[in-house]
Structures are given as structure tokens and as C-alpha cells.
Amino acid sequence: MSAKMRTGQTAEIPGPKKAHVIPQPKVAASMIKKAKRPLLVVGSNAPKLKTNDGDLVDSAIRFLKTGVAVVATGHLVKTFRDRGTEVYSMPFMNLGDRLTDPDWAGFDGEGPYDIVLFVGSLYYMEWLVQSGLKSFAQDLRTLSLSNTYQPNASWSMGSMPVKDWLTALDEILKELEEEK
């Protein structure tokens, strides 16, 4: 197993079906650009994770501006509101459950999401929710954008130093912003 597939917690190892490592940031950006209905899930750790934009909440707001729908889990929506931005809000468990329902038409009622991105969640919670999606929402593509490998996503960033991750995140956002 390569260093990029080193999981964020020792025992949260992959099963037989494991996430592909995103080889380059532009590959992730390309997948997002090709998607018709992308959704970014931002977890409650986001304010603690510093990025080139400030923190991960600020980076999520950049995603929002590129046209990606954003949902905050836990009580994180308050942080977005405090920064003058409205995003969707749903508990992580509810969201995972809804995403397994092919008839769920999303927050705006316009239809199911075709790619779901994850950042800022507790590592093991993201691991578990993606495990549920791997088995019970097999047509849904999931993409973990954290700096530690998430084996249950369809695609995941490889484990990497924070400095490299910040650069990668920035590159993805720039690609999306250019597209817009």
C-alpha cells in the first residue's frame, strides 16, 4: 500500500473495494466540472482547519461561488451565517441516509446529486458515512477532499502533508473558478 493510501486512523483500513487516489488536483476539478449536480459536504471541523483562504469554511464559500451546492453538517451552518453566507444545513447522519435514496430530489428539489464532495468532517464519521454510501448508494460518486486518505470514497485525495494539501485545494478551486 502506498503512503498516499495511509489512512487517517490506524485501524480504519480499506475493505476489498477501496477509493482511487486522485492523482492530480486537476483530475478532481475535472470530475466536479463534469458533474451536473455536485454537492460539497462541509463537516464541523472546518473552522479549525486553516487554508490559504483563511479556514476551510472560507474555502467552502469559494466552492459555493463556483456553483457547487454546499451543505454544512453538525451546527456548522452558524459559522457560515456569521460570515454572511447561507448554505444548506443537515445533520451528517440524515444526509448520508438521504443520499442512499435515489428518489431524494436534493435540497432544491431539482433532482439527485451526481457527485458528493467531503471536507472538514471528523475522520471516522466521514469514513462511516462513505462506507454506508459505498454499499447502499452504489451509483453515487463520492470524492474526499481531506488531506488524509478516505478508503470508502469512490475517489480520495491521498494522504499528504498539510502544505501540499493546501496547494492542491487551491488548484482545484482555481480550476473551477476559471471554468466559471
Binding site: 475493505g15 473495494k17 454499499s135
Partner: protein, 781 residues
């Protein structure tokens, strides 16, 4: 009645010695003929008896599975990959496998309480006799509500409890068998079986606590149970120190008795961790509660204990190795955890003491509780002069060791909470232990970091030492476990709870696997106490909420009364005392609403589900016992919230607020089916953050039966908490306002404006006499 008993009734018998009329011969036991309540439809239910009820709940609260492992490794066909829609060699699906593991967890949990109860009951029958009368709470006729409800019997003596426990044991064997390869295959049937295990667990817990309350002089449901102390600082280290760990109080009782008989309390301190500590303090308030189970290693590493006594459940299985590091002998007292120690049950006490003190054995096994006291106390007194204390790790040594850290991050990856240990160790190498001290309250004490460290650094000891340097050695007040809620209390508050005027009952339950430290439990408790909810607590949660003082030096137990009323904070007791929480809900249906209890599970669960705004919170749920305790709540219609680690139980039971058809409920007055809104929205739910949990708790207290006044009270708390923690009004109020009168008066205009924008119309959500049971509809014949 037990099958081994015999009853013979003969109207008239002529024999050589005369004619007997109305002859009633009873062999084995006396039948309770005085209970005039008719037997309900489901006494001693078997696995399938309550399946229809379970399916009603599970139709509404469907499992969202999150496999912790994609494989099944339970038979030699395997390992089988079950990912997606693959099936195992036996045909099992991923959904069925996950629910099968849930069932197994609940069976383990319920079996553990049942085995505990059996040991307790058999021993106490031996000491007090089968005819010892059960007396568990003052001003109370409805004793044993779980046993009455499930079994249809009214236990009056220790003997009567044997029937209940025989039943639980039999059912648990049946349930465990269903998890064998090639038995059950349907995930919802597995879920129903998990509910069955949970229900059995509450009977087992009730039996265990009734036995000990009735015989050992524990508080009997009193609001003003005695205060004792909790925390490292509660232990007088100038005395010999005995540390008891576990859940079964019998060995500790013998230790306390020996101290009293020999007037040694001035020389010896008895402290405990986990539920044994609760029950010690219920027996004698001079026994101290060191802390929750997560402090086990921390306390041993502090070097304070002179002798360690273990009974059963939630022990560190490497306790002998750990105790050896500080030179403290271990006395094991239960067949369930013998730890490889030599059985010295039948040896003379002084010989055993001598071997322990001289270090000829790291510990011993003593299976006779009546012998434990003498051995433990004598050993502690002789070991005290040898105590290593905090010298076990000096600050200089800590800094020296910290400098050997290789910065590999394995400690962080191994930590369940990814605590930033590596950075703290690096800081320690530079001479500052501030970061270690800051982490310490959030450490769950598992020591996985130590196992992972290639340098074998004693990281838990680092944290303990750093915290000690920062003076984290306080003591706090704690009211000892009071046991059951009394009938009188139920009569006084039943109306307020059922009609929603008391906003809810919040039960803080369970273990100490917290995401960000135990003080979050105090945060939850205080939030709801200020709002005049009734807050109950058991086990580690009841300890953790004591561990913070306000600016006046008072903690929650000192600030809030211990009675079952709005704004009351009740330490109910140990794990097995959890049965009194479900018992209180059951008694509300029986005493306040006069619903028949005897063998009448469905009707009572239907009542509790639709009317009693109770929510369980197991913020640090860790064990299989926590799983089965929660499961017993689900079947009774009580929702449970767990912390983020609780998602590792592999599934949540979630309602879909957006599906109106899921929330159709019968009106018992007319038989008409009406939409009642998503109340309560979920049955089992893992919250990511404390704030999310608090908002969800307020929401989950809503029930279809709330009066308009009650609903307005509940909505006002939900809205206020939501505004505080989410920064805005909730966007789902249109699902909870039935009529304008439901809206809190001070928010009327704002709320009505919001919900009308969402298309709300008065009358769409029914105000009715709610039931899920067709047979409860009062049809005219």
C-alpha cells in the same frame, strides 16, 4: 410460574382421613393471587411476539447502515465480501450482516447485565433467603415496572425475581442462536430481535438493582440521597488506598463491612471507578468515587492505589500488567474476568496477604465475596508503606523521554479522537507540558497511542503527570444513586409530562468514550436544567457531569435538587439502575394514565412513544451494554442520541421528515388516520457536535399528544436553542405547528410568517388521541 413448580386445586376430595373442600396445594412457591389486574396479551413474550410492534417502528425509522467492516468472518466459508449488493456464501446481505452484528452486540450487552443479575441474586438469596421482601422505593406500589410489563408477574420477594431471570436467560439463548450461520436472513427481523434483546436487558437490570437495593440498604428512591465525593482529590492519600473497578458491588460490600467491623475507616480509603463506585457509595457514602471508567489507567498510573480490586465489565484486560508497574497487587473476584490469576479462594487469608505483599504473585483470584474484605484490607495496609506514588514518573524523566519522539504521527493516528499528541510531546521535549495538560481532559484513556508508539513512550502517563502538575486533582460533590422514581413523584408530574408542560425528560446515560471530553455532559445537563427539563443520569455520565464547578464553587449536584420534577437532577445510579429510567416512563402510563401494565407491552410502548417526551443521550456510548440499553429504549418508543463515536454501532434509525406518509397515526377516538408530523423525528441518531445534539434533543421531546400549551413550550426551547447554535430560526417549524395556538406567544408573528411562506395550513397536522395500534381504537360495537 416456573415450570418446576406445581399447583394442585381440588374442589372436593374424599379420603380415608376425611373430606377436604377447596383444597389448594402449592409446591415450590406461592402464587400471587392478590394481583387483581388481569393478565395482558403478551406475558413472557418470545422472539416473535412483539414483531408487529417493532415493524411499525422500523417502518417509520429505517436503518441507515454504515458498515464498520465490509466482510463477514463468522464461519469458514469466509471471509465473504458483502460490499454493495454482494452476498456471502450463506446468502447474507450487507444490510442483514450489519443488523446481525447489532443483534449480537445487544445480546452481549443484555447477557452481561443478566449474568450480573444472576450472580447478585444467587448470592443475596444465599445470604438473605428467598423470602426476603423486595422494597426498592418509598411511597411506591408499582415496583419492578419492567418486570411487570414484560413478564406479567409482580415480584414481591427475591424468589419471585428468579422467574424473570429464568425467562431472560432462555430468551437470550434463543436470540443468540438466530445469529448462527444460516438462520435469520432479513435485516428488519434482525433489528426486531435486537429490540427484543434490549427489552430483556431492562428486565435483567431491574432484577439486579432490585436485589441490591432491597438487601444492601441502598437509598430507596429518595430525592435527598447522601452526598459523597468524586475526583482524584477525593482520595485521602495519607491512608491506605483500595481501588475497586467494575460493576458488581458484592466484593466491595465485603471490604466496607470489614472496615466497619474492624473500625478501620480512619486508616483505609475505599475508592472506585465506574459503576462499582456508584454502588459502593450507595452502600456507604464514605466510599469515594474516583471517576468514570476512562480514568482507569490514569488512576493506576498516578501510583496512588495500594491494591486493585476488579469485579466485572469494562475492565482493562491488561490490568494486572498495569498494576504491576506501580507494584500494586490485583484481586480478581469474578469468574467472568479471572485474568490468569491463581485461585486462592480456599486458602487462609493471611497466607494470601503474605504472598501478595511479598510480590510472590501479581494477584489472586478470590471467588467468595465474604473472603475478599479481609484479604484486600490487610493487603492495602501492608502495601501502603511501599507505595511509589507520583515518583512513578518524574518531570525530568518525562522531558527526557519526550525528546526521543520520532515525529511519526502514529500516536495521533491511533487516538480515537486524533488528539494532537505528537505536537504536545514535542513541546514537552522543549520543557513545556501545557499542551499535554490541555489534552488530558479529552483523553478517553484507551492507551492506543502507547501501543502504536515505536518508541514505547508511556503517553498516558505523560498526560497524567502533566495534569497533576497543573493541579487537576480536585474533588467534587456527587449525590449518590437514588434508585427508582417513586409513584408519588410520577403522580405529581405525570400530567405535566404527558401534556408537554414539562418540556421533557433528558436521560444522560452511559460510557465515557467522548469526542471532546466528559465536561460536554455537564454542558448538556446544565442547558436542560436551566430550561426546567427533568434530567436523569446514570453510570459514567452521572459522574462526568459532576466534574465542573461554577464561579461560586458549586457543581450541578449542589445547584439542582434531586427530585423527579422540572429542573431536577437525579443521579439514578449505576448501569443496572438504567431500568428505573424506562421504569419511570412505564409508570407514567400506568400510574398517571391508568393503563394496565401486566403483560401489556405494546399498549404501554404505544403510550410512551406517543405521549412521554423522554430522550436518552449516551454521549460517550462505547459498550455492548450501552447498545442493549438503548435498544430497550427504542422498543419502548424512547429516542436515543449518541455522540459521533456512536455511529460505530453500524447504523442509525432515522425518520424521514419529508415523507408525510411515514407519519400517519390513528386517532383512538375515531379510528381515522391522520398526519401528525415527524414526532419524534428519529429513534437512534448520532450527533456530530454537542450543539447539534442539544438542538436535536429539544426537537425529539415533541410528541403527537402534546397539548397546544405543551407544544408551545417545547417549540420555544427548540427555537431558542436553534437560534443560539444555528444562528437562525429552524426551517422545519411548519412540520411541528399544528394550530396557531402551538406557536410560542412571544414569537407568534415571526413564526406564523415563516411557516405560511412554507405553505402551512392550520389543521393539516392532526391533534388527536394518537396510537399506532388498531386495537386501541375505541370503536362503537
Amino acid at each position: 410460574m416456573s415450570k418446576k413448580d406445581l399447583r394442585l386445586k381440588i374442589d372436593e376430595l374424599s379420603s380415608s382421613i376425611g373430606v377436604f373442600k377447596g383444597l389448594d396445594i402449592q409446591i415450590g412457591r406461592i402464587i400471587d393471587d392478590e394481583w387483581d389486574e388481569p393478565m395482558g396479551p403478551t406475558p413472557f413474550p418470545s422472539i416473535g411476539t412483539l414483531r408487529d410492534w417493532d415493524r411499525k417502528l422500523l417502518e417509520r425509522y429505517k436503518p441507515f447502515y454504515m458498515p464498520l467492516c465490509d466482510l463477514c468472518c463468522l464461519c469458514t466459508f469466509g471471509k465473504c465480501d458483502l460490499t454493495g449488493d454482494k452476498k456471502g456464501a450463506c446468502g447474507i446481505t450487507m444490510a442483514a450482516q450489519q443488523s446481525r452484528i447489532v443483534l449480537l452486540a445487544c445480546c452481549i450487552g443484555a447477557s452481561t447485565h443478566c449474568a450480573h443479575a444472576r450472580h447478585m441474586m444467587d448470592h443475596l438469596i444465599e445470604v438473605y433467603g428467598r423470602d426476603h421482601v423486595l422494597d426498592i422505593a418509598i411511597n411506591t406500589n408499582v415496583q419492578a415496572p419492567n418486570t411487570r410489563l414484560v413478564c406479567g408477574i409482580r415480584p414481591k420477594t427475591l424468589r419471585d425475581l428468579e422467574d424473570a431471570l429464568d425467562y431472560v436467560e432462555t430468551q437470550l439463548v434463543q436470540l443468540t442462536a438466530t445469529a448462527h450461520t444460516g438462520q435469520e436472513g432479513d435485516n428488519i427481523d434482525f433489528e426486531s430481535k435486537a429490540f427484543h434483546a434490549g427489552m430483556l436487558d431492562h428486565v435483567a437490570m431491574e432484577v439486579a438493582d432490585m436485589c441490591q437495593i432491597s438487601t444492601l440498604g441502598f437509598p430507596k428512591g429518595v430525592a435527598d440521597a447522601p452526598m459523597t465525593e468524586i475526583g482524584f482529590g477525593s482520595i485521602d492519600t495519607s491512608k491506605a488506598v483500595i481501588m475497586c473497578i467494575g460493576h458488581n458491588v458484592l466484593p466491595s460490600v465485603d471490604i466496607i463491612d470489614y472496615l466497619m467491623e474492624n473500625k478501620l475507616f480512619e486508616e483505609v480509603e475505599v475508592g472506585g471507578l465506574c459503576c462499582t463506585a456508584h454502588d459502593q457509595s450507595r452502600y456507604d457514602k464514605r466510599a469515594k468515587i474516583v471517576g468514570p471508567i476512562s480514568w482507569q489507567l490514569r488512576y493506576i498510573r498516578s501510583g496512588i492505589p495500594d491494591v486493585v480490586v476488579v469485579d466485572e465489565q469494562c475492565l482493562r484486560t491488561d490490568i494486572v500488567d498495569e498494576a504491576q508497574k506501580i507494584g500494586a497487587p490485583v484481586i480478581a473476584t469474578s469468574e467472568k474476568s479471572m485474568l490468569g490469576l491463581p485461585n486462592r479462594t480456599h486458602d487462609p487469608p493471611d497466607e494470601i496477604v503474605d504472598d501478595l505483599v511479598e510480590g510472590r504473585t501479581p494477584g489472586v483470584l478470590i471467588l467468595e465475596p465474604d473472603k475478599v474484605g479481609e484479604v484486600v484490607v490487610k493487603t492495602a495496609l501492608k502495601m501502603k508503606p511501599k507505595r511509589m506514588g507520583f515518583k512513578a514518573l518524574s518531570m525530568e524523566k518525562l522531558i527526557e523521554l519526550a525528546a526521543t519522539c520520532r515525529s511519526c504521527m502514529e500516536c495521533v493516528r491511533a487516538c480515537p479522537n486524533n488528539l494532537p499528541l505528537m505536537d504536545a510531546v514535542k513541546a514537552a521535549a522543549e520543557g513545556s507540558v501545557d499542551a499535554l495538560a490541555k489534552i488530558q481532559p479529552m483523553c478517553v484513556g484507551c492507551a492506543r497511542c502507547e501501543s502504536a508508539c515505536p518508541q514505547k513512550l508511556p503517553l498516558v502517563s505523560f498526560l497524567t503527570k502533566a495534569a497533576d502538575e497543573k493541579g487537576m486533582t480536585d474533588s467534587f460533590a456527587i449525590r449518590v444513586g437514588r434508585g427508582a422514581v417513586t409513584d408519588v413523584e410520577i403522580r405529581e408530574v405525570g400530567r405535566g409530562i404527558v401534556f408537554g408542560e414539562i418540556p421533557g425528560i433528558v436521560a444522560l446515560v452511559g460510557c465515557a468514550n467522548y469526542p471532546r471530553g466528559g465536561l460536554e455532559v455537564a454542558d448538556i445537563a446544565e442547558e436542560f436544567l436551566k430550561r426546567r427539563f427533568i434530567v436523569l443520569a446514570t453510570g459514567c455520565a452521572a459522574m462526568d457531569l459532576a466534574l465542573r464547578k461554577d464561579e461560586d464553587g458549586l457543581n450541578l449536584y449542589e445547584k439542582y435538587p434531586g427530585n423527579f420534577d422540572a429542573g431536577g437532577l437525579l443521579n439514578i445510579g449505576s448501569c443496572v439502575s438504567n431500568a428505573h429510567i424506562t421504569g419511570a416512563a412505564i409508570k407514567i402510563a400506568n400510574i398517571f394514565a391508568k393503563r394496565p401494565l401486566r403483560g401489556n407491552y405494546e399498549e404501554i410502548a404505544d403510550y410512551v412513544y406517543n405521549r412521554v417526551g423522554a430522550v436518552g443521550i449516551a454521549w460517550g456510548a462505547m459498550s455492548q451494554k450501552a447498545a442493549s440499553i438503548a435498544s430497550g429504549c427504542w422498543r419502548l418508543g424512547i429516542p436515543v442520541i449518541v455522540g459521533p463515536h456512536g455511529a460505530k454501532y453500524r447504523r442509525n434509525l432515522l425518520g424521514r421528515a419529508d415523507k408525510e406518509e411515514d407519519w400517519m397515526t390513528l386517532d383512538a377516538r375515531t379510528g381515522e388516520e391522520k398526519y401528525v408530523g415527524p414526532v419524534p423525528e428519529h429513534l437512534f441518531y448520532s450527533a456530530e457536535t454537542l450543539e447539534e445534539a442539544m438542538v436535536m434533543t429539544a426537537k425529539l421531546t415533541m410528541r403527537p399528544n402534546d397539548t397546544t400549551k405543551g407544544r408551545a413550550v417545547k417549540l420555544s426551547h427548540y427555537i431558542d436553542l436553534h437560534k443560539t447554535y444555528y444562528g437562525a430560526m429552524p426551517d422545519d417549524l411548519h412540520l411541528y405547528v399544528r394550530v396557531e395556538a402551538d406557536v410560542p406567544f412571544t414569537m407568534k408573528e415571526e413564526v406564523l410568517g415563516i411557516i405560511k411562506d412554507k405553505g402551512w395550513e392550520e389543521g393539516k397536522i392532526g391533534l388527536l388521541d394518537p396510537t399506532l395500534l388498531d386495537r386501541m381504537v375505541r370503536r362503537k360495537s
